[in-house]
Symmetry: C2
Subunit: 81 residues, 2 copies
């Protein structure tokens, strides 16, 4: 079995209203000096097959077809053990 | 300036309907062998101050007070420079 971690983040320059809302909330709670907050997604996927190269290709396809909106988002795949 | 990365994940045993939905969608798209999907949040925070120890404490407080629901979620903080 393979475990994969996928990070999906907004591309630089794309507005992040969710991150801005978190930043304002932190400021309202008294946390000063928070210059920027960007919020993304973190997905852990367990795959049955053990071939890393094949898994990388399939995870790449999953990101392009479902997990990420590649117009505005970047994705990064880490395959563990 | 310090850059921090925060991962917020559901505690083991807590049901993840969002992850289940992603798993079913992947299966419907023809991706076999996806055994489990768990979805979490990934937050990048830029802090003005440069003291790592202080930053770690403040980020910990941010997670407990706003970013994570510690009843059902774990959080992990990585501070980059």
């Amino acid at each position: 079995m393979l475990k994969a971690r996928v990070h999906i983040t907004l591309k630089p320059g794309v507005l992040d209203p969710q991150g801005k809302a978190v930043q304002h909330s932190l400021s309202a709670l008294g946390f000063d000096g928070v210059e920027q907050v960007r919020q993304g997604k973190y997905i852990e996927i367990d795959l049955a097959d053990g071939d890393r190269t094949l898994a990388q290709e399939r995870l790449d396809a999953m990101c392009r077809q479902l997990l990420a909106n590649t117009v505005i988002e970047n994705y990064a795949i880490d395959i563990l053990e």
